[in-house]
Amino acid sequence: MIDTLRLTAEEAKRLLEAREISGAELFAAYAERDDDLNAYLHRCDDPGGDGIPLAVKDVIGTKGIPTTAGSRILENYVPVYDATVIANAKQHGLRILGKTNTDEFAMGSSTENSAYGPTHNPWDLSRVPGGSGGGSAAAVSGGLAPWALGSDTGGSIKQPAALCGHVGLRPTYGTVSRFGVVAFASSLDQVGPVAKNVRDCAYLYSIISGRDANDSTTVEVPKVELPNADSLAGLRIGVPKEMNGAEGIEIGVTDAVNRAISLAESLGASVEECSLPRSVDYGVACYYLVAPAEASSNLARYDGVRYGLRVDGDDFREMVMRTRDAGFGDEPKRRIMIGTYALSSGYYDAYYATAQKVRTVIKREHDALFERFDVLVSPTSPTVAFPIGAKVHDPLAMYLNDLLTIPSCMAGLPGLSIPCGLSEGLPVGLQLIGPQFGENTLFRAAHALEQAIDFDPVPERLR
């Protein structure tokens, strides 16, 4: 009766208010659907009430519900407090369906780095859903949740959204609290909404965003406006040539994105090519210094003393070393080591300090463009979903999945990915990047475009 593959949160809300369905029925529709995607690491019982059900990425702390961050080192960890975003969600009555799979500590672009097995793309089970938030993405596209919370550090919401064919927002840094969220890279992490359409995305963003006294890096947020226009008249779109012409972008992706850009023009937007001379070229290098450096410090607390895995040792040092070696997978180890190296004595200036300066360059280049443009567009991901196992042995190749999402993350800017077509039967994502606090502009532009594109978000194999 309830079509979980199509039902939006907004529609669910209407049905509940009209009493056409009950809260219990709604929850059950998702909870009872078989998870052949390995989207969920933990599924919850219906807590009662009639709030809209929500899936939550397993890096977000949920009181009384196991939170593993996709790692063995937190295998049996059950938080005793809720993340602020969860408290906000609960205040709005949202009910947690479960915790979704993630690359370990949110480090990855395919969810293959999860200690609990990969998640499968609902469009093609042999392919990745993207990462690190592949679980939330698969759940939303695969009919296992109407919407979800994810987290984005270098593209972990946007890229899975592109690969799975739904909408994901990476918010302006500082507009959503990180309190209670397992930290990866503190100056980059943001929690964001994963939804079937732009309006749902905006609505969920309005629920979770806002200044939090528990997170010193948050600020007040402009009031969220749910978009409803279908014209793009007056919108100035910039198309950075380094993004759209980057090496490694599949032809099918370029074609779908170009078609969407033409569509935008026909809706009244002005489109002009522009340039980000160094942001794309140096973005990945910059990110893979800053993020691992912060991560190496954020992951140091996993020492077997107060929570998580402990492997015994004759003394403290031995216990810590064995625990961390056993508990962390390869990707966290790599990033911890690169990060430690970049911060270490003798290397700090050449690596970390330099990367922080490159970050300024990236920010300035984006700021300059936003003097002339309202949004910048590009493909979200260079490729469509790739086969599970295809890139797992080549860390650098894996890092290049984030080529197009990373630069705006370094600048702390918001980015929205909407599906804009198919290539080889797989979804292609269009990335819209906005200025700081430009979420409403993004919602307005994306909504109109979404209506015009009219992409069917239900995976073909499930229709």
Binding site: G61, T67, A183, S297, A300, R306, L343
Partner: protein, 467 residues
């Protein structure tokens, strides 16, 4: 060859704010282990620090009191290392952009003032408490470490001096003065036994007249100022001996046992740690607002060092020092304002008054002034008794001023003669050379007269009578 000691100090002071530095758990002693903790100070996944505004302001206040420059922009840094008492495996501290820098503290001494440079004063958080115990019933190893996180996150101000100190006594005086300053500003109880003030000492020596800086050793865990002075002196002597024997001083840390002042310290060569400092990304910079800095400055008042200097214009340095360091100078000033003679008042306060244990703030200065003024005229016993009540509410000196001291030799001589007669043995010994027995006779006379005799006259007359 003459050697000059070169000493620098690193002091940690726990602020007595209501809450911890980065979370709002209660700060301070009291609870059972781990009862003053939360996800933040336990470093649970996802927890984030939020700075304590009052701690920042008090650090600024301390910096101003030490004549420091208050930074326009101060930043917190992470200091990364693994230890059971360090739950995040990094300590949030400050590195190259501290709140306060470039200050000084003038230490008044009898020979003049010694100005000790303050390199910096910054704000950080304290670690948890480790207790190393023998584990019972464990197969592996005979010991374990138990951790109590109540102390984790306590606001800590770290003060670092320039190596401007050149003898143990000055180091001790500096520490005492710093401690008193911190206590008077209301920032901390600064109790060494409780650990709310801790210090490490860096010691090296160099040939007198040179300005080189030779290898220094670090002295840790001395928990009293006297202990510190002794430890420093011994280390200076040790280093001088080494150099004079043609040897080389190794860079070492000397861990003293706080319960055994005289035991030689354990020595360790600690590996240079790579703390990988980087700016704390979970915190934003501090730009101390001007009005806050001014408000802190206004709250400072006249500091102990300045008061010693000022009072030493009227009294001897020694008296000024005793009064100020004894917390008596405020009362002394009031007593002098009420008409007492400055030297007499200082004498009474520094000696008899201190012995009563009465809190200076409980005393009515005007009444005490009257007592001081009458000291020569009234019997000693009356004076002493009056003093013990000086802290009582509504105390007046009047009832004690009526008694007159007996200074008339013609009244005292008969008493003295009686006592000399009654103690022929002691009289003989005195005449034979035991001058100390004078005190015995004087004491007896004072007893006989119920304390009313003037001790100076008694002294004179007993001497005269004994011959």
């Amino acid at each position: 060859m003459s050697w000059q000691p070169v000493i620098g100090l690193e002091i940690h002071v726990q602020l007595k704010t209501e809450t911890k530095m980065f979370c709002r758990c209660r700060n301070g002693f009291g609870g059972g282990p781990n009862t003053q903790t939360c996800p933040v100070c336990l470093a649970f996944p996802g927890s984030l620090p939020v700075p304590n505004r009052r701690a920042i302001e008090e650090t600024i206040k301390l910096g101003l009191a030490l004549d420091c420059t208050i930074a326009d922009r101060a930043v917190f840094h992470r200091k990364n290392y693994f230890y059971p008492d360090n739950p995040k495996a990094y300590q949030i501290s400050q590195y190259d952009e501290p709140l306060c820098s470039n200050g000084k503290l003038a230490v008044p001494t009898a020979e003049g003032e010694q100005t000790i440079g303050i390199t910096r004063a910054h704000l950080e958080e304290d670690a948890a408490k480790n207790v190393h115990v023998a584990a019972s019933g464990r197969l592996h190893g005979a010991t374990a470490t138990l951790v109590d996180f109540n102390r984790a996150g306590t606001p800590l101000v770290e003060i670092v001096t320039e190596p401007d100190i050149h003898d143990a006594e000055t180091a001790k005086r500096f520490l005492q003065l710093l401690r008193q300053t911190v206590v008077e500003l209301g920032l901390s109880d600064a109790e060494l036994e409780k650990g709310s003030m801790r210090f490490d000492v860096n010691v090296s020596v160099r040939p007198e007249g040179s300005d080189e800086l030779r290898t220094r050793t670090e002295l840790k865990n001395m928990n009293s100022f006297n202990f510190a002075a002794k430890g420093i002196e011994r280390e200076i002597a040790r280093q001088v001996r080494i150099y004079e024997e043609g040897g080389v001083v190794e860079q070492e840390t000397l861990h003293f046992d706080p319960t055994q002042e005289d035991s030689p310290p354990m020595r360790s060569k600690e590996e240079a740690q790579d703390y990988r400092y980087f700016p704390e990304p979970d915190l934003v910079p501090v730009h101390p607002p001007e009005d806050v800095v001014e408000r802190m400055r206004e709250q400072i008042g006249e500091l102990p060092g300045a008061r010693i200097r000022r009072i030493a214009d009227t009294l001897s340095f020694y008296d000024a020092d005793v009064l100020v360091t004894g917390g008596l100078d405020l009362l002394w000033s009031a007593v002098v304002d009420a008409g007492a003679d400055p030297k007499e008042a200082a004498n009474v306060l520094a000696n008899q008054f201190v012995a009563t244990g009465i809190a200076p703030e409980d005393v009515d200065a005007a009444e005490l002034a009257k007592l001081v003024a009458a000291r020569a005229e009234i019997p000693r016993s009356a004076f002493d008794e009056a003093l013990t009540h000086a802290g009582d509410p509504g105390f007046t000196a009047a009832p004690y001023l009526g008694q007159k001291v007996v200074a008339d030799a013609s009244e005292l001589d008969p008493v003295i003669e009686r006592i000399i007669e009654a103690n022929p043995g002691q009289a003989e010994q005195y005449r034979g050379g035991k001058q100390g027995l004078l005190g015995f006779f004087v004491g007896q006379v004072m007893k006989e007269t119920g304390g009313k005799a003037d001790p100076r006259v008694v002294n004179e007359r007993v001497r005269a009578k004994l011959g």
